[in-house]
Amino acid sequence: MSGEAPAGLAQFPITRLCMLTTVILPIIASIADCKYWFLVYDDPFITEYKQYYRYVMFQIAAINETDVALITLIWYNLRHLERLFGSRKYASIIVLSWFYTTATIVLMNKLFNLNPFFRWNRLTSGSLPTVLSLFHFYKEYTPQIYEFDVRLTKPFGLRSKQLKWTFNDQFMINTLVMIMLANQGMSGLATGFLSWLCGVFIDKGLLPGSEVFRVPSFISRPGHNQGQTLVTGTESDAADVSESGAQGSVTGGDEEPSDEPARPLGVQFLDTFRM
């Protein structure tokens, strides 16, 4: 489909990091039998045991495998954001979203539990809040490319009316987010709404930092982003260029293919944790 961002994760290091973290951490936690680290129950973990570190941990790994799969797919779809913002700004927005959503959810959880009738005990697992916050950025800055209608003529017997649904090119990520919210129940819906609001507020500047805060530039490797030149089409030859009277020479990376070279899985893991 021509309306999609380029496939693959070449030059999307933050997306790659997030996807691999989302997949690998639950596996390691499962193997090491420490999945319970990523659970947050207001009672007894917080009120009784005072394990506040769980607030920091709960967004890092999802307990449920379905959530893992969904969040991984959503991270992949959000790679367009990394393309838009650039890796460093994207990482900053992620950190900001993580911070603000965690703070908002904890605050709202505490406020809600002040009422004597209902108790919001279990927080969501996985990076659902951060993803929902980023989802706002995605929807805000991604224009719709195409849309299509699905019409069902009397789908439920003769008495029913015609149903018409209009989908656009973003229906994939919309559906994934809806499934993810529904998968975690009422808690997921409420958290998702709060996180989406956080995203809106961060974008509008009500929650400060999106223009000021930047993570340290640990991702800019020398020669990686600077003057990168990729060639498609005919083969270029440096000799031909110099013969034709050009003043300079073609910069490095001229012969690189446009996609990421294949790397073994082990190297990918090591690269991920090196960052």
């Binding site: 380029p6 650039g86 700004k89 991604t142 260029v241 073609v250």
Partner: protein, 427 residues
């Protein structure tokens, strides 16, 4: 679906296949014989009935929920509130304005770093849509850019702007507004187009060109077969970037482009010549066809005339053979003096019981010179299937009366028993 409903509600009234028909009455329904089911049907009914019933109500509930949740579409409209249905021209002018603003704000921030030369170029003075240095090269839309590049055989440069990036203003001042870039664009007459990736057209271009980082500068050139090819792409953060590679590519592909342009011109010339030849051929073909058609028509007309002459001749011969002789007795005779143009005054007697047409035939045969031959009373000439029209009319001078050929001579008082007749030609 009807099948399932029938299965579920078989005890209720039957379905009518005719739309608008009345349901059958209850009495009639009660009189139907009791249903006998085979064991297979009973088992199927027991196994499928409950799940289908549940599914039916589940889907009905879902459809109801969807229709009830329709107001939530307004949430979806939250992201469509921007007017993103701008035309390409408007979107481009909005983008140029935004870029000019961005450039001025970024150059104001780095005023101490700007060289005197760079200060002389502002974005609006170079890329403004009117009265700017490169206005004539800027295309209004991507499709228009591709079309112009392939038709005119020129380079095309695409700049995809990303307003969300941190340092997009630097890109403008360090690349697009440098003297070198402007000189390159002027030297190679490159066509230009700017796109915004937060607008649909820009995003489509970015996706089709598989751009992974913004801002993006792409150089397009025509390939053989009027295809467009991306020959150079510069993307990402270009802080230490120079225009060397772009210039090298332009210099390398320029001869090929010139060659393609010449090929294109040659092809165009050949096409024009072929069109002219075709039109000339068509013109001469049309003239030939017209001449043939005229000749054919003349030939046909001649044949028809010949045929008609033959028929006339035949008819006259037949008429001569049946022309009555002058009566001998005066009782039933009509004596008329006929003045014709060719033969002068002729006096002739006719049988008064004959029609006036006999006089007409006499005059015609006289003018054709066919009365000199003797009539053969035993001639077996058949009357040809032809209605002869006399090319003259017979009138009496005083009083002037036109003689009707159908009338009987005795009934026409002006010539019976004697009178004067003048022949008037109709032609």
């Amino acid at each position: 679906m009807d099948f399932f409903q029938r299965l579920l509600r078989s005890r209720e009234q039957g379905f009518s296949q005719i739309p608008g028909s009345f349901p059958e009455s209850e009495e009639h329904g009660n009189s139907t014989p009791p249903q006998h089911r085979t064991p297979l049907e009973s088992v199927l009914r027991a196994c499928l009935g409950v799940p289908l019933w549940l599914l039916y109500h589940l889907f009905s509930f879902l459809a109801l929920a969807v229709s009830l949740l329709r107001p939530l579409n307004r949430v979806y409209g939250f992201y469509n509130r921007k007017n993103r249905t701008l035309s390409h021209e408007d979107a481009l002018s909005v983008l140029i304005d935004a870029l000019s603003l961005e450039y001025s704000s970024s150059s104001a921030g780095n005023a101490d770093e700007q060289s005197a030369l760079r200060d002389s170029f502002s974005f609006a003075s170079v890329y403004g849509l009117e009265n700017a240095v490169l206005s004539s090269y800027i295309q209004r839309g991507y499709a228009q850019l591709l079309k112009a590049a392939s038709e005119q055989g020129k380079f095309a440069i695409i700049y995809l702007h990303n307003p969300l990036a941190d340092d997009c203003g630097q890109y403008l001042s360090k690349i697009l507004c440098t003297e070198r870039f402007v000189n390159l664009a002027q030297k190679y007459e490159t066509l230009l187009w700017f796109g915004d990736v937060t607008v649909s057209e820009g995003l489509q271009v970015a996706n089709s060109l598989k751009v992974r980082q913004f801002p993006f500068l792409g150089l397009l050139a025509m390939k053989s077969g009027s295809k467009i090819e991306l020959i150079e792409r510069l993307e990402g953060e270009l802080l230490t970037y120079s225009l060397d590679s772009l210039e090298a590519k332009l210099a390398k592909f320029y001869p090929r482009l010139i060659e393609l342009r010449q090929q294109h011109q040659n092809t165009e010339l050949r096409r024009l010549m072929r069109e002219q030849q075709d039109s000339r051929f068509q013109e001469s073909l049309r003239q030939d066809q017209e001449r043939d058609r005229r000749q054919e028509a003349a030939r046909q007309r001649e044949a028809e005339e010949r045929h008609e002459q033959g028929l006339k001749k035949q008819w006259l011969l037949w008429r001569r053979s049946v022309l009555a002789d002058a009566p001998t007795s005066m009782e039933s005779a009509c004596k008329v003096a006929i003045r014709t143009a060719a033969n002068g005054r002729v006096v002739q007697k006719f049988d008064a019981s004959l029609p006036v047409e006999e006089i007409y035939a006499y005059v015609e045969l006289l003018s054709q010179g066919m009365l000199e031959t003797q009539r053969d009373p035993h001639s077996s000439l058949q009357k040809p299937d032809y209605e002869y029209r006399y090319p003259f009319m017979l009138i009496t001078p005083v009083p002037r009366v036109e003689l009707d050929p159908q009338a009987i001579i005795r009934d026409v008082e002006v010539i019976y028993p004697s009178g004067n007749i003048v022949m008037e030609s109709l032609e």
